[in-house]
Subunit: 400 residues, 2 copies
């Protein structure tokens, strides 16, 4: 793990460290997998070589029993509790959840968050160079699945000498990975918290993803995916994709509360196509800032992986069979105003777990913040997760 | 009305007529408004000259008391009950509602449906030639409002010598016009049926419209709105806009029932970006067929008019004041699965009408078909409207 130390000196050492990083003992690392360890994909293709970029927080205990694996959502990354290298945003996207004394307590747990396969923050994806051609993969990158992402994550844990995971947790696409982990590696997962997710991507969600992909592909600067070779960037198409998706992350109630029909720095409408309304200005900003930190082809690949996710499909359509004889303890969390992964989707997971006689608790949190609630300040969610995690930690002998 | 006769011979006469056209006595016409009758817009601009293209069905009775005005939605047009000249689709978009013996009975009523201002099916809009420059208006067309659309419609009725309207009816943006008609011309409207609409466009709906506009404007073929001069067409951008909007017209339940995760002419997923899923293929088709019949700039202008709609704004924010002392009989209709104009939006209209002591009935139709239910085969809606219209017709002395 020489590469790990090397990166540790970059961001975790005295020179590059900030207070936040030190507080959670953040370490940035990259693991390389050479020709000797190819990744076999669901499509039948093999990816080799590849690498996984990840962050760790806290310290691994002696018997390696305190590992928490955080799985991130579509456009997030490994920086769950550390400064983002591109945006400079401190604290990480889950700063409310991960840290000393927080529900995912870095004083007790060794937390790992890996950038998913196909993404663009260090783990191999379509923007990387294909050694076979010397050019960026673009659309020659193999199409991947949630199971492929999880298989790669397991290879990293193997590399780190970690067999057992105390807890796998994630929201949205992170919840899909959480379910996939519990299903594919039941003996390795002690507890699992899928949040605001589904076992099977819905037609409506596939439709929204398809709109985003078509927006990217409609941008002539996309160049059939070869924009990195041609020096262009489908920023406008990617921004439109992000804008459409962003609406689905919120709720009508939250939009009404936050923006309503408020005008943007003006007394009355201008009878034009400027951003008269604050909601327009907000959305445009969301679109424009996204393109600075995300790769358009990664957006295509990761949305596709989510579309393909149907955990029951490998079990004759019976979701309960995906969790047969599971010993994992589950806590399923949904939000009342989440219309992207509504409570009904999450309840189907609970029903399947019940049918499999699994140990499962289910909490629907009352909030108007929509799907994004899992990333926001939701005291009831914090209390729920703290209770479940503490109880599981006691069972696992981690609170001694 | 020489132009009316002239067109009548084109589509209503023996030569061009089809069975559908004859059945409803369809007449296509265009009314021209010259320099002597400019249209004064909410923005303060004056539009002149302009024209209105419209269809009529049935016959005007002797005392002109049997007029039904149908107001169309965003991307629809005047062809409510006649063959569409571009798509060739017979029957019209409201063939289930308008015809002999149907709720809007062409044997009893004289039905008028006007293409709205800013649209692209014959009424003046941004694709038409600005006589001042000899070029298509494009973005030099004045930004219009729902009130402007209604003001133009009133000018047409004046031209036709029609003062009183028995019934104004419309769904979605047609419902906005219906409300505007009842508010601006209370003495002229005997009955009004706003369906699946709102008195004030929500932040979420403005957001979806903004995504559509940004998709169009991101298309380099849009050429800042001058594409008609440059011989280009922002078809890809407009298709993306349509795809995003189309999702909002349906419901998750309807998408699940109709498509679910069914694959498109294949046994298994292809691990690629083709339309593996039927929902993808369907959406792409919706986008591509739309660009053949709609103008991209019209899409910008009409969505903007909807965004600006806030009927209470001219009444110190008190919607009830928009209907003060109204004598109009109202029937408000909403659909349980409509999340674009949810029942709560429609209920606000009902509350305001109640506060104004108006004669109002309200029906929420239980359906999983989403917003588009008003265009579909909804027996409960037909029964509701038939009952309300028949009762109002009796009151108006039209059933003698």
């Amino acid at each position: 793990m020489s590469e790990r130390k090397e990166l540790q000196s970059e961001t975790g050492g005295a020179l590059g460290a900030d207070a936040e990083t030190l507080r959670v003992n953040a370490v940035s690392a990259i693991a390389h997998f050479g020709p000797e360890s190819p990744l076999t994909l669901d499509s039948g293709a093999k990816l080799s070589p590849f690498q996984i970029a990840y962050e760790t927080y806290g310290h691994l205990n002696a018997d390696k029993s305190n590992v928490v694996l955080i799985c991130h959502a579509l456009t997030l990354d490994q920086y769950a509790a550390s400064r983002h290298p591109v945006t400079g945003k401190p604290g990480g996207w889950w700063a409310t959840m991960v840290g000393p004394g927080l529900p995912i307590d870095t004083d007790r747990f060794f937390v790992i968050c890996q950038n998913v396969l196909g993404s663009c923050m260090g783990t191999t994806g379509p923007k990387d160079i294909d050694p076979a051609t010397g050019k960026a993969y673009g659309l020659t990158f193999p199409v991947i699945t949630i199971a492929d992402m999880v298989r790669a994550q397991a290879m990293l844990l193997d590399r780190l000498g970690i067999r057992d995971i105390f807890l796998v947790i994630g929201g949205s696409m992170g919840g899909m990975q959480t379910l996939q982990w519990a299903s594919a590696y039941p003996d390795r997962v002690f507890a699992a918290i899928p949040i605001a997710t589904t076992a099977r991507h819905s037609a409506q969600n596939i439709a929204f993803h398809e709109v985003g992909r078509q927006a990217i592909m409609a941008d002539p600067d996309w160049q059939n995916g070869t924009y990195l070779d041609t020096g262009t960037n489908p920023a406008k198409g990617l921004a439109v994709a992000r804008m459409a998706a962003h609406i689905t992350y919120l709720s009508e109630a939250a939009l009404h509360r936050k923006f309503g029909r408020k005008l943007q720095n003006r007394e009355k409408v201008t009878y034009g196509f400027d951003a008269d309304f604050q909601i327009e200005s907000y959305l445009r900003h969301q679109g424009m800032s996204f393109v600075d930190r995300f790769d358009a082809n990664s957006y295509l690949y990761i949305t596709r992986a989510m579309d393909y996710f149907d955990l029951a499909a490998d079990y004759d359509g019976v979701l309960a069979h995906a969790f047969k004889n599971t010993k994992t303890r589950f806590c399923v969390v949904s939000f009342t105003s989440d219309w992207l992964f509504p409570t009904s989707d999450n309840r189907q997971i609970v029903h399947a777990l019940n049918a499999a006689a699994a140990n499962v608790s289910f909490v629907e949190i009352d909030t108007d913040k929509g799907h994004d609630a899992f990333l926001l300040d939701e005291p009831e969610m914090f209390a729920t997760l703290r209770g479940f995690i503490d109880s599981a930690a006691t069972r696992r002998g981690l609170n001694a």
